[in-house]
């Protein structure tokens, strides 16, 4: 054995910290050992745009197109002042994007990580966190574009901006249970990915992002439909305080029920089905 060989062999492998039954146990272990999911999601993102000079600034382009392109277009179409409307679109778009990419990416999360899972990396929460981390990286990278929109908004509520320190974690906590559930279902039914992809066009239009929520009054059918939409409540929770608008009275209750109910669902689903995932993928 050469000197090199000996030096390489000194590392003793750590024991596994995984249960595949308890979501909390695995999630806590994943959060304690963030190296794998943080690195792999970061690599996925930065590596994609290496070929171009713009590099990581490419990642801002979707936000630019949606917020300034689409926002500007709809503002002029509906004869609204640009300064007021793009900030509305910006926050709505960012929050919607976090949840929607959590759902669409998590449906294929286990299948795309099959090599890792089948090789013995069975702490499945790592792969869910990888999806959430990717969504958050995109969120953070789009912030400058949104900040520009807020800068021209005439009446930013600083207290409301402070409130986002509470509201954005609520969105992330919800994104997590959604990620767990959709990842499990997506592993069992690979077709889900296509279905979800198709539904999102509709969900985007159903959520008040490029139109104002107050055009849908409470009593109307469309208003009721909108208030069933979970995206609406999450977007509202973040957006309304910043722009100085009132949160719909049903939103806190809706979100509380959804968060608790969703987590219970995720815990039960994980306990029952997580160990079958390697067989499905």
């Amino acid at each position: 054995m050469s000197v090199n060989e000996r030096r390489m062999d000194v590392l003793q492998a750590p024991e596994r910290d995984v249960s595949m039954h308890s979501l909390f146990h695995d999630l806590a272990a994943s959060l304690r050992n963030p190296e794998f999911w943080a690195l792999s999601s970061w690599l996925d993102i930065v590596v994609r745009n290496r070929q171009s000079r713009l590099g990581i600034f490419w990642l801002m382009s979707p936000a630019l197109v949606y917020i300034w392109g689409m926002g500007g277009f709809f503002a002029s179409m509906m004869h609204m002042p640009l300064a007021g409307f793009v900030a509305y679109v910006a926050i709505g778009y960012l929050v919607f994007r976090v949840i929607s990419s959590a759902i669409t990416d998590s449906t294929g999360a286990f299948a795309t990580s099959a090599p890792f899972i089948l090789d013995g990396h069975v702490r499945l929460t790592d792969f869910v966190l990888r999806v959430i981390a990717t969504a958050m990286f995109h969120f953070i990278i789009s912030l400058p574009v949104a900040a520009l929109a807020l800068a021209i908004y005439p009446d930013v509520h600083w207290i409301g901006l402070l409130f986002s320190l509470f509201s954005i974690p609520v969105v992330i906590i919800n994104a997590m249970w959604i990620g767990v559930v959709f990842a499990l279902v997506g592993a069992r039914f690979p077709d889900l990915k296509h279905l979800v992809g198709n539904i999102f066009m509709f969900a985007f239009l159903l959520t008040p992002i490029i139109w104002h929520a107050d055009t849908m009054p409470l009593g109307s059918i469309r208003g009721t439909l909108m208030r069933f939409n979970p995206f609406y409540h999450m977007v509202e929770l973040v957006r309304a305080p910043i722009l100085g608008q009132a949160i719909d009275s049903s939103t806190p209750l809706y979100l509380a029920v959804m968060t608790v109910g969703g987590w219970i669902l995720a815990i039960l689903a994980y306990r029952r089905y997580a160990r079958f995932v390697p067989l499905w993928i």
Binding site: M8, A13, E35, L39, V47, D119, P278
Partner: protein, 383 residues
Amino acid sequence: MSASIQLDRVSLTVPLYVQPERRARNWAAMLLGAAFDPPRRVHVPLLDEISFQAHEGDRVAILGRNGAGKSTLLRVLNGVYPMSSGSMQVKGSRQALLNMSLGFNGEATVRENIFLRGTAMRLKASDMSDKIESILEFAGLQEKSSHRLRTLSTGQKMRLGFAISTSVRHDIILMDEWVGAGDSDFMAKATERMKGHMSGSKIVMLASHSVGLLRSICNKGIVLEQGRLVYSGDVIPALEHYHDLMASLRSTVAMGAPDASDLATPLVYGCAEKISFDDGVIQLHGWITSTNGSTVQGVALEVAGVRYVSTSIVRNKRSDVARHFGLRDQNCGFTASFVIPHLTALENLGVELRILGGADGSSAHTPLRVAPAVTASVRGNVD
């Protein structure tokens, strides 16, 4: 902490979805059937009540045909597949070396991928940074460390995967059919490392069809057939069982039974032990056999790229070889004669000499191991 594996009546049954068979009369019916026939759910037992124990120092060979459940068993042992019933206790850290080329990011650099694979194996990033250089060195990829992984050849990726996977020590190593990873130079290095790596670990479970490799590493063996454990014990009786199994399968195939897929291309292995040259005839002594126990009749020499098939071959009894590999057929030895025109001495064969084996002379393509005595004779330094 001591490492051990205990399996008690472990079964794994999985639901599979199969398309109903139907005799399509034309291509349109077949296409429609493929689109609209609902798949049927059937339960397939992959492992059936498997019990065995492995303790520290055990090097267990897992034998069996393709599809007998070898890889499935390794995945159950690795904690990837859940058991349907039974109980399993595994003590000690384990690492599976099932497929070495997977789990990479093609667009990232080689160096970044080493970090990625390392963290996937639960290593700390700080521990990884010291090892990067030695991993690159072992894989022979120092100059490529900042290249994109995509630009590497398949062989280079395999080498990299191997170097990373074996850079950490584990109590238990689970290995599946370890196929050739690159050129012969690297293979020699890799085999050396593998042996060192295994000697540092407490338990090794190795699934392979290569009897030579299994025999040189393992001291215990288990034989699987259709998900059932048919033998467990020392490696030589296990190999005998395996050869019996293959032989009985061959006889059923001869009677017209289907399922000949495994037997179509048996692996030939053997060794050339002695070579002599007398009166214009080369006499080559050695032994040759195959994984399914069928008789192998062909030996050929390749001299400077030209093949010479033996003019005659005589089988003889080699009980020492049969004992070593657990063969049922004692007649695995051979003496083959070759006539090579214009040859005056063995030294003229040149160092490029290759000795090949196969089912018959024309299909002899598998290189046999060449004993040092043969090399010495060909080089001319006989003592």
